[in-house]
Symmetry: C2
Subunit: 314 residues, 2 copies
């Protein structure tokens, strides 16, 4: 018998031996939604389940990067290894990677206990959340103690990522109308822990009151609200405690059973959607023949979708 090529097996072996290049390649494969990604993740899944995976989101300007940097410093002092996934809505205009670069500039890149990786949006909405969850599993399997998934903004991508992250921290600031924006985006009720950053002034009290008022309004148990002044390191230890307590609660507590189920359900939905997309791309000519029929007025969009479904999946 000849030598069989097994790039997935090779990558997994490199990964298990602690090769950072193998980690980077594995993340690229989930980012690009390659066929190999699923095999890699399944091979490494038994090694997952140890890391704290924490989503951090909030509007631009809320001080998320500074907050993340302070959290990293806090956890490093405790001897924990920290990975950061910086999620950027990519765009032909911006070229993405704004956030990751900003974190890198904060001089953590020389610390071997810290790993920073940017991921950009591509493809379907939700594809990013699927990729982020997969990449977090990889970082978990690689041995990081904490994985921070940082997103910019409070848009739908952020909601999607928050819906798969085990614990999500929403960072707001007083005065900027951040709370209203977060309400509109629907991210407010998805977050597990609220941070009011830049909380020096009296406006912070108003934001905290508003949050508490909202919880009582919808008859939900109040979730932790932590005040921080990230730039001065204030409130960071309290935030780390809140994250740890939340994690313990959701892992064991029966009250969180439905919550745990919804996270897994969401993740399966995203995986199935990506699978659907691959099936459509595998059609001869992709979706193009039906797109043309709709453009020529020979078919309405609903009939075309139905025909596509029947052809590939019926």
């Amino acid at each position: 018998m000849g030598v069989r090529q097994d790039p997935v097996g090779e990558l997994v072996r490199g990964f298990r031996s602690g090769d950072v290049l193998a980690l980077a390649r594995a993340i690229s494969s989930v980012e690009d939604d390659r066929e190999s990604a699923s095999a890699i993740l399944r091979a490494l899944y038994p090694q997952t389940g140890r890391a704290h995976i924490v989503g951090i989101t909030g509007p631009p300007g809320a001080g998320k990067s500074t907050l993340c940097d302070q959290l990293i410093g806090h956890w490093r002092k405790e001897g924990l290894r920290v990975a950061v996934l910086a999620i950027d809505p990519s765009s032909p205009f911006s070229g993405g990677a704004i956030l990751g670069d900003r974190i890198r500039m904060m001089d953590r890149s020389t610390d071997e206990g810290v790993y920073i990786r940017s991921m950009a949006t591509r493809g379907w909405t939700g594809g990013l959340a699927r990729a982020a969850a997969d990449a977090a599993d990889l970082l978990d399997a690689f041995g990081f103690d904490v994985v921070l998934i940082e997103t910019i903004g409070v848009g739908q991508d952020e909601v999607e990522v928050a819906r798969v992250a085990p614990v999500t921290v929403l960072v707001l600031t007083p005065g900027a109308g951040d709370d209203i924006q977060a309400i509109k985006a629907g991210i407010l009720e998805i977050a597990d822990i609220y941070v009011v950053n830049k909380a020096e002034g009296p406006d912070a009290d108003r934001v905290v009151r508003n949050l508490m008022g909202l919880f009582s309004l919808v008859d939900e148990p109040a979730r932790p609200v932590v005040r921080t002044v990230a730039i001065r390191g204030e409130g960071i230890a309290e935030l780390a405690v809140a994250v740890e307590e939340r994690r313990k609660a959701i892992e064991g507590d029966e009250a969180f059973a439905a919550w745990r189920r919804s996270k897994v359900e969401r993740r399966l939905q995203l995986l199935l959607r990506d699978r659907l997309q691959r099936e459509l791309e595998a059609l001869p000519g992709g979706m193009a023949p039906y797109v043309e029929k709709v453009l020529r007025g020979e078919m309405d969009p609903h009939a075309a979708a139905e025909a596509l479904w029947a052809e590939r999946l019926g």
Copy 2:
């Protein structure tokens, strides 16, 4: 033979006779993604294709509602009938419908040539864009000359709606960093026409320059940038002209063939995704048995997704 019940046929007949209640019911059926929606849309599709369907988006506070109100006034003076679909990211906290209510307050509701309808986000991301495109088709078939699809914010939902709307207007204001936000969300390159509203001051020049700079940077033909002061009605006629010219260009021009294809392709993708969701919900117990297996550690998420796919769709 007995009398056969045919609720879809009855609704379609009511719709064709100009019954506004039938229109409202048809929109509710697409909003809820009911089975009947597809049948209704297919029956009415031959009546579509006449209306200008225009998406209007931009960050909160950019003055979209005022701008829409001015545009409605402009078109009403020309004798056109105008429908507005106000898309709200709904939330248990906000209860949705913020925007639609605001438009209603502007006293167009007594004008029979104006129809206003709010639609709320539910289900998957992208489900809203699918529903908005379907509802716009219904309003088109009902005989409205212009259908405005208004969205709040510059998040992913807005990008999704913009990707299916034939023409999208992005409303920015000087000074608020709106352009940067729009770049990050990826909506900037999806818009067809740019409005710099509240354009009284010199800051407006900077925003216009930035937009032009971006177009040249990515080597794309410059798209129209219209300055408005919506509150005083300035620039509204120019915007209406830009919308009309853009519409003529994309309908006939060979240069827009790829663009037209991408809009239809996107719409089919969204329809197929909703179909996938319905298939999963039709499984005995839905996705729950596999969710439980993942929670108990008997299966990894990728294996569970694969098994679900095979069971229902393989």
